[in-house]
Amino acid sequence: MIAEAGLAALWLAAALSLLGLFLSIAHVRGTLEADKAVRALAIVQGLLCLFAFAMLLLVFARTDLSVALVAENSHSAKPLIYKVAGAWGNHEGSMLLWVTVLGLSGAALAALSHRLPSRTLIAALGAQAALALGFHAFLLFASNPFARLNPPAPEGRGLNPLLQDPGLAFHPPTLYLGYVGLSVAFSLAVGALLGGEVNRQLARAMRPWVLGAWIFLTLGITAGSYWAYYELGWGGWWFWDPVENASLMPWLAATALLHSVAVLAARNALKAWTMMLAVIAFSMSMIGTFLVRSGILTSVHAFAVDPLRGSFILGLLAVYVTAAFLLFAVRAPTLREGAPFEPVSREAAIVANNLLLTVILGVVFIGTLYPLLAEATTGEKLSVGAPYFNAVAGPLAILLGILLAVGPLLSWRREGRPVLRRLALPGLFAATALAITFFAIPQSGLLPKFGLALAAGLIPATIIPLIGRNPLRTPLATWGMAIAHLGAAVAVAGMAADSAFTTEKLTAAKPGETVEVGPWLVEFTGVTPAVGPNWTAVEAELRATRGSGVHVLKPQTRFFTNPPTETNEAAIDTLLSGQLYTVVGRSDAEGRWQLRLWWKPLVTLIWFGGGLIGLGGLLALAGHARRAWRRRMAQ
């Protein structure tokens, strides 16, 4: 019954979005006054999706093996958290999560937007309903999560052990909130283009949605990066894998949008460009979903390849993206831009920021799709990897970092103050750091050197805009901006430090032997068996020391029975100065065990910086929300 209730809720939600679409068309054309009805429909539709998703969680929590999806992806002997999180650790469940977030975004837009012209809002809700309708059809016709299995399976097939990790509970939902949250910006852009009201009011209405989605994307990517780092046991935090790029591209577009929408809100300018970015950002989310779900690109994220599902999403993608671009092509010429910008002003800096972010987005997009495009045109097979991305995107990111130091120091319209003087101190820091790197780490590449120098200059530069202001009077949004920028500087420091200072040792050792990695002496004392709820393991004991104190690390090779798989559980010792990362592999005939050891100074800064960026976003969102609330109270 639970599964049927979920399925019924999905059908009902699909019907309501169809109704909502028709009513909103009628409202925008002026044939019917349907403002309240469209809003109510959007809210109910979102709640029905949420209900269906709750039903899916319930069948997974109870391991109802008469539901095909549960039988294929779950197992009764699994900790409850992975039973529940396993609900979205598969195609159908994750698409239901996608649709649920889409529905809830529409509901939130309907419930929380009060200051937009009715025509714009209802057109946006119509666009949201059209999106929901397509993805509902995809769920119901090509990916039904509630399909029954008759007779029920005696036992489930289990969940991929790599996914049996707390990361699964956090990473996909966060990322989806970001991906799909961008649908609101897309719909608002469509609504505003249809209604012809692209102005500051729209920007103020759009900004919290972009900010919210961007925060979730930032945190989701940061969490995913750390998850891959410790779970895969490869010691890397970013692999330029197509699925990673699929999450990075919407983030790049959203970051650009976040800044251009600020220009629209402050200066009533960059109208067409902002609308374009809003369309691109969510299009990137949909393209990412397509790339991941169709499996057309080779990736470490092994998802099942299904041409029918791929074609279905491709069809949706084609309809939505081309429709939005067509609308843009027709309506963009009617948008009136304001006066041109002064070359030294905050808006000019943001234009440069947008250009750089867009170029980086293009670089990642081309690199990700190039193997596919090359094979389609020349038949040649090739792969594009880190050397391309680092070499092309890296220098652009450094330029972006320099801009990040300058931009916040400029004021809107026209900068009258001497900017260069305020930049003297950060510039001095950066130049000194750069000189030091050339002496201290001559063997590392140019990019890590410039990265470290940039971070050294950027950390003071991001704080300068706060200096001389009363901390209590400073708007939360300004604090948020400074903290997010500081987070970017900290993350850059971590990335550069990781590639400049990491030492790696791959060796085979007998119990009792000592291995040296960086400043550490690591003694391999032996291996012991270990047992978990649904796995057994070989556990190595490593005693690491660098002068004083002993750190004990216990990396494992785990053997799961359902499904039969072997995983490496890295043991990581986190210190203020960095991380010692250890992996144990197989043994050979002479009783030696493969050990892989890394000493990674300051690597944690990467994710700490990511967290700071998210925190900055949250503060800014809180600031905007508080201001909007006060304004409403005042009325």
């Binding site: 390849v305 491709l314 993608l317 993206v321 671009f325 843009f328 596919l372 495009l373």
Partner: protein, 182 residues
């Protein structure tokens, strides 16, 4: 961001759509024509990497890469006693050998006893058989599985990689490649 409204800006406005259609078209092409997962060796038309393998069965001759550059084109066949397609391939290899082609073999991840039994049951077309118990030479050759067969010319340069068993119908192509490698 420009305000101009001439024909150029109209073309610019349509650019996103054109790009989108192009990219979506490529996606559709890939969906219709699924990926060919065969892994091709990067060494085709290059010299065979250096290896020196001991004999796979007592009494046979081992195989080192220098043995392949004898002035006459030959086949290098990677096989294993535990590989079922290799059994199917054995009579075809025997037929090629009967037509005067010299064949060297590498037994992948195998034991002398098992290779001996395999050759006893399915015949031995090989001039030399090296043993590669750890797949080291196999990976160096750019091979991802068994059976695989390479056409090596007289100078020890790899001219053709045949992935999977050689069927009766593949014989003409193999012979032609050998002829060309002469």
């Amino acid at each position: 961001m420009a305000e101009a409204d001439g024909p150029v800006s109209r073309a610019l406005r349509l650019l996103p759509i054109i790009l989108t259609v192009w990219i979506l078209g490529t996606f559709a092409w890939r969906l219709i024509q699924p990926d060919d997962p065969t892994i091709r060796s990067q060494l085709v038309n290059r010299e065979v990497p250096a290896f020196d393998l001991p004999a796979a069965v007592p009494g046979a001759t081992g195989l080192k890469s220098a043995d392949l550059a004898t002035g006459r084109p030959r086949l290098l066949n990677l096989f294993a006693s535990w590989c079922v397609p290799c059994v199917a391939e054995a009579p075809v290899l025997a037929e090629i050998h009967r037509r005067g082609v010299e064949i060297d073999g590498i037994a992948i991840r195998d034991t002398p006893g098992a290779v001996g039994a395999f050759l006893g049951r399915h015949g031995n077309p090989y001039s030399r058989i090296g043993s590669d118990p750890t797949s080291r030479a196999q990976l160096a050759l750019g091979s991802a599985g068994v059976p695989e067969t390479f056409v090596i010319d007289g100078k020890g340069v790899m001219r053709l990689q045949h992935v999977g068993p050689i069927y009766e119908s593949d014989i003409p192509a193999i012979l032609e490649a050998l002829e060309k490698a002469r």
